[in-house]
């Protein structure tokens, strides 16, 4: 196996593992983080497959904005849940 093929396979496997973790974990924060990790691995994969433009979009929107948006909303839910008690 050549090195690029090995790296690509490794990142694909890491992506699958991160996706599984996001599915089975009980903690919401861990699930959000591993969903972001899926996007991050995907963007590295895009980079390996010679698509830097797509990699940039995936990293900026998939793993950046979306993850922060989830945390943003989570914090908001916690805050409002606390206010009601």
């Amino acid at each position: 196996m050549t090195l690029p093929l090995l790296a690509t396979t490794g990142f694909a496997a890491a992506m699958l593992i991160a996706a599984l973790v996001a599915l089975v974990t009980r903690s919401t924060a861990v699930a959000v983080l591993s969903a972001g990790l899926v996007s991050l691995f995907a963007s590295v994969l895009f980079l390996f497959l010679a698509a830097p433009d797509v990699a940039m979009t995936e990293a900026a929107i998939g793993s950046g904005l979306t993850t922060f948006l989830f945390f943003f909303v989570l914090g908001r839910i916690r805050r409002e849940g606390r206010d009601e008690q």
Partner: protein, 238 residues
């Protein structure tokens, strides 16, 4: 009870198997191309000469498939408009926002002050250099918006002016369409980039209207994401 669950499990397993089969047939029939197909060969051969862009992907997105890009921008615009419309219904009374926020930490506040100019500069760089290096208006706009998100995280009570965001958004959108129509009048067709001189290959101000279009798209996308984030922040369900 257990019978119903087993039927449901069987259905899920069957669907997964079908999905796996679909992907497997895709993968099994995959043969790597030994040469570019006709369209790709045309792009690879003529892009640099026809558009003056160093990054072929950008030339295809902005010029050859410019109408599709306009469609994407429209979709994003509609999303932002609908988010603002839906979330605007439950807006908190004026002055009521920002009272229940936890103060953000010193680390985040100081780090934001240090990082924000760099992030904004990088976003502008990515948007304007789309015809030379990987990236472009969408990516640059997303980076600009993530800078805004950092600002909101560091200081949740901060508000941007909706008016400025709306102005930036609509002016850049209109200018984008105007450039496209100018292409019909002055050059080969809608969104033709040759309304401006192509310039020297590889220079920042080259490739005709591509840097201009991507700067506009970057501003538009950044303004749209920022307005979405802000309407999310402003919403109070109480």
């Amino acid at each position: 009870m257990s019978n119903r669950f087993s039927i449901r499990h069987a259905a899920v397993l069957g669907l997964l198997a079908l999905l796996g089969l679909a992907f497997w047939t895709l993968l099994a029939g995959y043969v790597p191309d030994t040469e570019l197909n006709r369209t790709a060969a045309y792009y690879a051969e003529n892009t640099a000469r026809e558009t003056g862009a160093q990054n072929i992907v950008t030339a295809i997105i902005v010029t050859y498939r410019g109408l599709d890009t306009l469609g994407e921008v429209t979709v994003l615009f509609l999303t932002a408009a609908i988010v603002a419309l839906v979330l605007g219904q439950s807006k908190a009374p004026r002055g009521g926002t920002g009272s229940g926020f936890l103060p953000s930490g010193e680390l985040l506040a100081t780090g934001t002050r240090m990082l924000l100019p760099i992030i904004l500069l990088f976003g502008a760089y990515v948007a304007v250099n789309g015809h030379l290096t990987p990236g472009g208006g969408f990516q640059g706009g997303a980076i600009l918006a993530s800078g805004m998100l950092l600002l909101l995280l560091a200081d949740p009570a901060r508000r941007f002016s909706h008016r400025i965001i709306a102005r930036v958004e609509s002016v850049s959108g209109l200018a984008y369409v105007a450039i496209g129509v100018l292409g019909v009048a002055l050059a080969g067709g809608f969104l033709d980039n040759r309304i401006l001189p192509l310039g020297q290959f590889g220079a920042l101000l080259s490739a005709g209207a591509i840097p201009l279009i991507y700067a506009l798209v970057g501003l538009k996308v950044g303004a749209e994401f920022s307005s979405m984030l802000e309407s999310l922040e402003e919403t109070e369900d109480s």
